[in-house]
């Protein structure tokens, strides 16, 4: 027992971000389902004039799920895990508490501006980096505030060594800071040449260089938003929920440094068969294949953490979510390297297999981990048991079915598309026109839409369960040591 025994962890910022995660998740996924159906039924493009066209909504979908849903989830879990493994409460520092709240509210303002500008069609046209320079400045400010929160909390910690999750959160902070700054370097056209509106800009890089910086950023956004902070979550929540220590802490350290070293070189695989130097393409391919090792190092470590405790998979739906998430992590980190092999990429590039791959990772790995993490935190934050285990079980199967429909339809669509595009007759003439592929793909696009819809339905069930846990569930007196309490 130490002198701090009257202090409690303060989850007020974690709670705010948890609610933001759910709201942005619903918005981002709903737009995703709409644009998936637009691919199958193009007339859905005209529901609300220019504001509902695919081109306007697609960046809103990606940005809402990446920078809305996922980042809020990352921050919610950071403000929860950070305190617990460093054994220090936010309540002990009014400054950090203020910074945490400022972080949240400034972020909400940033999101509001992003939503309005993207709906208006104001964009830099760089994928996942669509925000114009004034918004970038606000984002940098939000990021710096988060960084001050991380290092501030570390500065007043009681635990000397930083738990592996903290290393992953630090890597997220540093990685995204570096990537975001370099890829968003832009020239404001109005101030430099008197052209365009005051908020317009063009990239500071030109042509192939711009493509290289963009995909160094784009791929590592996957690394440092979809992978690194989610590993931070699984290294904390799976052991805590199962009551089992990490199978091998040494392997977690080794995988961490392996991932950090290898990931940053793999982005070149987005530009295979393009105008970038051949060695950049080869390097991108090779590093993508090597990436299997640290990725599987973490994933196998997670699965082995359940050694001798596999019964929990049956009794605890949260464990089921986390184990399926780790399995999807293994799945997408073997699929990605396969797609990055040059000869495979010749078939797969620009086809639907690529969004299929991305959604294995985001729906299966990222989505499931965030859902499980929030539900693990809920009984501890609100001091109430999880509202319904049955609802959670049903959600698991509905969403899993959704993911399977999504990736299987996109595999078939992608490979069909790739084969048709390159089919030629004996004289070298293309065998099919573009519209031939569109006609063939129609049923798979419909199946993809249905898969996405099932996932969204599951997300609504989760939101309801979370809301009821927060407001109406049975109160618990003592914080559970491991498995989260839930009503049948």
């Amino acid at each position: 027992m130490q002198s701090s025994n009257m202090i409690n962890y303060d989850y007020s910022v974690a709670k705010c971000f948890a609610i933001a995660t759910i709201v942005f998740g619903i918005v981002g996924m709903a737009i995703g389902v709409l644009i998936a159906f637009q691919m199958a039924y193009p007339e859905l493009n005209y529901l609300a004039g220019e504001y509902s066209t695919f081109g306007r909504l697609r960046p809103l979908h990606t940005d809402a799920v990446i920078f809305g849903f996922i980042l809020s989830g990352v921050w919610s879990t950071w403000y929860y895990i950070g305190q617990r493994v460093l054994k220090v409460s936010m309540a002990e520092s009014p400054f950090l508490m203020f910074m945490g709240k400022l972080h949240f509210w400034l972020y909400i303002v940033g999101v509001a501006v992003v939503v309005v500008t993207l709906f208006m069609g104001i964009t830099t046209s760089k994928e996942y980096a669509e925000f114009e320079w004034p918004i970038d400045i606000v984002i940098v400010l939000i990021w710096v505030i988060w960084g001050m929160g991380i290092f501030g909390l570390i500065g007043i910690r009681r635990e000397k060594t930083l738990y592996i999750s903290i290393w992953y959160f630090i890597a997220t902070f540093l990685g995204v800071a570096m990537l975001y700054l370099f890829n968003n370097m832009a020239v404001p056209t109005y101030f430099v040449a008197g052209l365009g509106k005051w908020y317009h800009s063009v990239s500071m890089y030109a042509g192939t260089n711009d493509a290289m910086v963009q995909w160094w950023y784009g791929h590592n956004a996957v690394a440092f938003v979809f992978t690194v902070p989610i590993i931070a979550m699984v290294y904390y929540f799976l052991p805590k929920e199962s009551g089992q220590p990490v199978f091998s802490y040494k392997l977690s350290l080794l995988s961490f440094w392996g991932l950090m070293f290898v990931y940053l070189w793999a982005g070149g695989h987005h530009l295979l068969y393009s105008t970038v130097p051949d060695w950049v393409q080869t390097m991108g391919s090779i590093f993508s294949v090597v990436l299997i090792l640290p990725s599987w190092g973490s994933a196998i470590n997670m699965l082995l953490t359940m050694k001798g405790e596999w019964g929990q998979l049956k009794s605890n739906p949260l464990i089921k979510f986390m184990i399926l998430a780790s399995t999807f992590y293994m799945f997408s980190t073997i699929e990605g390297p396969i797609q990055a092999i040059k000869s495979v990429n010749a078939l797969a590039h620009f086809t639907d297999w690529i969004p299929g791959h991305v959604h294995d990772g985001t729906l299966g790995w990222v989505g499931f981990m965030i859902i499980a993490s929030l539900l693990h935190m809920a009984p501890r934050m609100f001091k109430r048991e999880i509202y319904s285990k049955k609802l959670l079980e049903a959600q698991f199967w509905i969403q899993t079915t959704g993911i399977v429909l999504y990736f299987s339809s996109m595999w078939i669509a992608g490979i069909t598309q790739g084969m048709m595009w390159r089919a030629a007759d004996q004289y070298g003439n293309l065998a099919y026109s573009f519209i031939d592929t569109v006609n063939v793909l129609h049923p798979y696009y419909t199946i993809r839409g249905v898969g996405g819809l099932l996932y969204l339905v599951g997300f609504f069930m989760f939101s309801y369960n979370f809301y009821k846990t927060m407001t109406a569930s049975k109160a618990i007196e003592e914080e559970p040591q491991s498995a989260s309490p839930m009503a049948a």
Binding site: M1, Q2, S4, N5, I7, N8, Y9, R84, V85, K87, V88, S89, R157, R158, E159, K160, T161, Y163, I164, S165, Y235, Y236, P239, K240, G243, P245, V246, S248, Y249, K250, L253, L254, W257, G258, F261, E479, S482
Partner: protein, 73 residues
């Protein structure tokens, strides 16, 4: 410098870098897995940080307060 010489230097550099990075990797693995036997750190104990994370639990390794902190307290 001629292109051929540049290519040759690149190849030596590449071989050297591969060797050095492989050595660093294996060195780190060796360190991690022999540290406890040599009386150094037992890395596995850090996994308890996630399990015993109540604010009332004792830290796995407590930070010793500096002299200035002690004076303040």
């Amino acid at each position: 410098m001629e292109m051929e010489s540049i290519r040759e230097l690149q190849a030596y550099g590449y071989a050297f870098a591969s060797f050095v990075f492989a050595m660093i990797l294996y060195g780190y693995i060796y360190h991690l897995y022999t540290s406890k036997k040599k009386g150094g750190k037992d890395y596995e104990k850090y996994s308890k940080m996630a399990l015993n994370d109540s604010i009332e639990d004792s830290p796995v390794e407590k930070i010793e307060p500096s002299n200035e902190d002690k004076e303040e307290r």
